[in-house]
Symmetry: D2
Subunit: 123 residues, 4 copies
């Protein structure tokens, strides 16, 4: 599991007074940074061999400005927690892209081992 | 079906040179505006009795800056087209919220009829 | 003068119920697209020889969701109008960058002529 | 002086490969949070008696994804530092708004004293 702390930003609220739903996919992308670094240690971002194929987000509760959010990322998903409540839960499907062959391919074994250490039951 | 045209904005690109995935949920929210107006004709947005419960997006192809996007919204989903190709496809599940009872409830009949005119097979 | 119409997006509102200030710089960037096209007609965006050096925005009034915005761009500035009121006014200073010499340089004559057609008194 | 650390987010990059200019005003708003708390300790954000009247940003250098940013905020300005270089510098003019009279007014003495502790020469 990876854990990322996000401080909600005021401009991320909307006229309903809570964090707008469109913000959450950006927070979850941010929470995947440790995975980006795993596949691309020098962070030459254009070489990142991962393509995002699908996202799913369930909005479980309202998220408010003024308190930090903890995002727990499993291989298969993300959960956003505030005040000990899980308020959004999502899934991002990333596909490994082999620049040499210009095709998607199976994630190489070396990464599978690193990722395996973070596998938990899906949120 | 509702149709919305979006002109991609330069700040919506990312370092890969295409439109960043986190932007799409905002475009799809924008494409739901006709539905917001249907439930809330005077656009006093705080009275909008719809809660977003879930989004799903499949990224089917790269979307680039420089050409307009057409978003076709069905009751159950959205599709983003550029150059006659469907490049992203999504689903937003909205729930009707009854302010009087403070609970979710079945969408009232009057709206069901209006929405029915836009039903198409799910994208 | 260039004129661009922007439909405010719901996620661009904030908890005060109006459009968040940080959104305006993105709208003004969008309104500069005709200038990007002038310097880079095929929109191969990485070849755009313009660097943004400075922005200034004065927030003159509240901008609300639900009605279109007209942005009038002069060479030296932008104005955002809604309901016949100018609600934000800004300036963007762009610098011409010569890829060959890797230095900023004077805007070439051919562009100066095109730009001259849009010069108006600064907003 | 207030100091805020921002981790650049991948979606904040643009097709030039660096952080898009429109992002910076959001970072600077985030860096003003200690000031929002000073004027509104319980963070009931709708009671915040501050209105943003003007922003100015000078883009001094490129900001890249992959390393943290330190934002130093003085009463009159902000500076964004990465790798010991100041890469953006900005000013935000906030006006005190008195809800009782519905007019802007002089910042009350109690806040002036707190703010005075953070005054430094303008960046």
């Amino acid at each position: 599991m990876f854990t990322t702390t996000i401080t909600p930003r005021f401009y991320e609220t909307d006229a309903f007074g809570h964090i707008n739903n469109t913000v959450i996919t950006g927070w979850f992308e941010t929470a995947r940074e440790p995975i980006f670094r795993m596949f691309n240690p020098d962070m030459q971002i254009k070489n990142l061999p991962l393509i995002l194929a699908r996202i799913e987000v369930d909005f479980v509760g309202q998220i408010y400005y003024g308190q930090d959010i903890t995002i727990q990322s499993f291989i298969v998903g993300h959960e956003a927690w505030q005040n000990n409540q899980c308020l959004a839960r999502g899934k991002a499907v990333q596909v490994y892209f082999d620049f040499a062959t210009q095709h998607s391919s199976r994630i190489p074994e070396q990464y599978r081992e690193q990722l395996a250490q973070h596998i938990m039951s899906s949120p």
